[in-house]
């Protein structure tokens, strides 16, 4: 396989250079390439907003070559916890980077004014755009499309909103309107670089006959395409989408409601995946290079005038958004959820963190730990209007209170209290109150994401607590996922891409590894990522899981605090050993 082409752009000097790195088991691409490049160019002891901190966008060896290999890994130092972090996004970015001729893009430095950088296979342009200051994500996208010289359909546009500009540690990078580098504050890092938007695309092409065994490749592509489009392997992501989980998880008593004071609610139908699909689903779209079409776009029709004056908005939704800006806030009407999602999108916040923080503020206000003088709006579970205002406060804080809570629960509880009811698992929780295994997995997981290991499914399948089985699950899942996100695959594709399929697809592009070698590579890549996270301040043994999680009662009964503690200790030990092994 050809060496990876890596474009480094220094935004301060507006100069770039190209580096070539040969892929191997240690530098497979994606997650592993990002960790390798951060190790080379990251500033471990400097803060996340230091101008020389890199934003590292990475593809892997298979992006675009096979269906659902359509994600991009972003490695960066997170302003949320000042640790090395990863976030993943799809949209059109994967193909756009590929046909810009790049495997990775490393951005360092800081523009002198708010600006846009445009990258194509044969040009790099810098635009000074102070007029974009304060503009929302949608408006920014519209204007950047006018600025860009790249043709429609062959470019990807990344941009930040007000939250990113204000370097809010829970701000996201929006990718092509409907996708995001969502968690852990990458938007703030872009903001710290005065970078409002990145446009990337181009018309590079690769001769397949020199790249792959064409006959084997086209056959394997066809087989995978059929598995993905004609079997049940990933069907659910297209049909109702992840929102199909709303009713089942509510029935299992694992769907967080009202800041996790409850785990089910009889008034579930109004925010169910079925309701969204039947009443509000406008259409579905896909990431480029993926035939699934998992992006569900709802339509919000609103009356805006005295007479028959209407407008409509298109808002993408999925399970996590319905949880964070629906059930977690006690909201049980789908249109209200879409309204809140739209506000979050426009200001460029991470939806999960925003919703969970607002739930914390709401409960704190009810408990009189916070005052109306601090919150400025009277937040109550189930009332959407005040939440719209509060979302704006998170992005653009009007006082010290909002300037504290918008740094995340981890920061807020040290200054404002409420540790017992803060739904904090490393960062704001994802929508799974499934039990001990999930809580430990997110609290200690590398990305503090439900996708680190998918332990919510293990919780649902395992009938009783078994420490060895749980640890084995966490290890095995992390091992597989870190290899797949090095390729870089979408984790929705995991049922289509077994270890054997990953091996075969890599072999087609000339990366011949045995299954054993791939699994060993997974351990090394995971180890390197953990090493970077530990070096930048993470101590898995010191993670605290708030009391609220111990109060949860699921379909399996009450949480077992002893088991939870044992699992946390064992998993922390495993993480430390893995980090030390590389």
């Amino acid at each position: 396989m050809n060496p990876f082409k890596i474009l480094h752009i220094n935004l301060t000097k507006q100069k770039s250079r190209i580096e070539y790195v040969s892929p191997d088991l240690a530098i497979l691409g994606g997650s592993s390439l990002a960790a390798y490049l951060y190790q080379e160019y990251g500033l471990l002891s400097e803060p996340a907003n230091h101008p020389d901190q890199p934003l590292i966008f990475c593809l892997g060896p298979l992006n675009g070559l096979f269906p659902m290999l359509s994600k991009v890994v972003l490695g960066f130092k997170s302003p949320y916890h000042q640790q090395y972090a990863e976030t993943h996004a799809g949209g059109r970015l994967s193909l756009a980077m590929r046909f810009a001729g790049l495997t990775a893009l490393v951005l360092t430095g800081k523009l002198s004014d708010l600006g846009v950088v445009e990258i194509a296979h044969n040009e790099i342009n810098f635009y000074s755009t102070p007029f974009l200051k304060g503009l929302d994500v949608y408006s920014t996208g519209k204007i950047v499309r006018k600025i860009s010289k790249l043709p429609s359909g062959k470019r990807s546009i990344l941009r930040i909103g007000l939250a990113g500009e204000n370097e809010v540690p829970i701000s996201c990078i929006n990718v092509d309107t409907y996708r995001h580098f969502g968690r852990l504050g990458a938007g703030a890092v872009m903001g710290s670089k005065n970078l409002k938007a990145i446009v990337i695309g181009g018309e590079a092409n690769f001769d397949l006959e020199s790249l792959v065994d064409l006959k084997k490749y086209t056959q394997l592509y066809r087989e995978l395409y059929q598995v993905i489009t004609q079997t049940k392997a990933v069907h659910k992501y297209h049909d109702l989408g992840t929102a199909q989980n709303i009713i089942p998880l509510n029935e299992l008593k694992v769907l967080p409601w009202n800041n996790l004071q409850k785990t089910s609610n009889s008034k579930i139908r109004g925010i169910s995946g079925e309701y969204f699909a039947q009443k509000l689903l406008l259409r579905k779209v896909a990431c480029s290079g993926c035939p699934v079409g998992c992006i569900h776009i709802g339509v919000l029709r609103e009356k805006f005038g005295q007479e028959h004056e209407y407008l409509y908005r298109q808002v993408s939704y999925d399970y996590e958004l319905i949880f964070a800006l629906g059930s977690m806030l006690g909201i049980n009407r789908a249109t209200y959820v879409l309204r809140l999602i739209e506000v979050v999108e426009k200001v460029g916040l991470d939806a999960m963190s925003a919703g969970v923080i607002l739930a914390y503020v709401t409960e704190g206000l009810a408990k009189k730990i916070f005052t109306l003088k601090q919150t400025l709006v009277n937040l109550e579970f189930g009332r959407p209007g005040p939440y719209e205002e509060a979302i704006f406060y998170l992005a653009h804080p009007p006082n010290e209170f909002w300037n504290t809570v918008n740094k995340g629960l981890r920061y807020a509880i040290k200054r404002l209290g409420g540790e017992d009811f803060a739904c904090l698992l490393g960062q704001e929780m994802a929508g799974y109150a499934t039990g001990e295994n999930y809580f430990v997995s997110q609290a200690l997981g590398f990305r503090h994401s439900h996708l680190d290991t998918g332990a919510y499914s293990f919780d649902q399948k395992s009938k009783q607590n078994d420490l060895d089985k749980a640890l084995d699950f966490l290890r095995t899942e992390e091992n597989y996922r870190v290899v797949f996100t090095s390729c870089v695959g979408c984790l929705f594709a995991r049922k289509a891409y077994s270890w054997e399929v990953i091996r075969d697809t890599l072999a087609v592009v000339g990366l011949d590894f045995s299954l054993q070698e791939l699994k060993q590579a997974g351990a090394k890549i995971a180890g390197l990522r953990w090493q970077l996270k530990l070096k930048t301040g993470f101590d898995p043994a010191m993670v605290k899981i708030p009391k609220r999680f111990l109060e949860v009662e699921t379909f399996k009964g009450k949480i077992n605090p002893t088991y939870l503690k044992q699992l946390q200790q064992s998993y922390a030990k495993y993480i430390q050993e893995l980090a030390a092994s590389v």
Binding site: P67, L95, S152, G153, N205, F206, T229, R283, G289, G293
Partner: protein, 144 residues
Amino acid sequence: MKRLRAIDMKRCIGCYSCVLACARLVHKSFSWDKAGIQISSSGGLSTGFEATFCLACDPPPCAQVCPTQALSPRKGGGIRLNSKNCIGCQKCVQACLIGAIRFDPDQKKPIFCIHCGQCTQFCPHQCIVLTENQTKKDQPNESI
């Protein structure tokens, strides 16, 4: 003769599988440029997708302007290319008013839809189909 038609682009999810299939199977290329079908969004993803490909004009204006007769009319509409005779003048590219002919800067030859239908096998929503050439009244392109 069969020809490609976009029968319902409102179903399109923008996956680019058709574009990648044409590049992969017809042009032996990993590309979203070297393909006879192009997908674009006009004004962002919220507006949906358009497909651009040869509409099988009969007679084809692109062939009429070809100075070396490298492009010749295809039976039932559209064109065929005799590469040996093509001098890479790009007059055909300019003659196609809808931009369905692209120019391959490496090979110095035009790229256009040859109505082979390979792309249709990779459209998950059957937005594009290969059908027998009938009158436009009977079977119009829904959108391009």
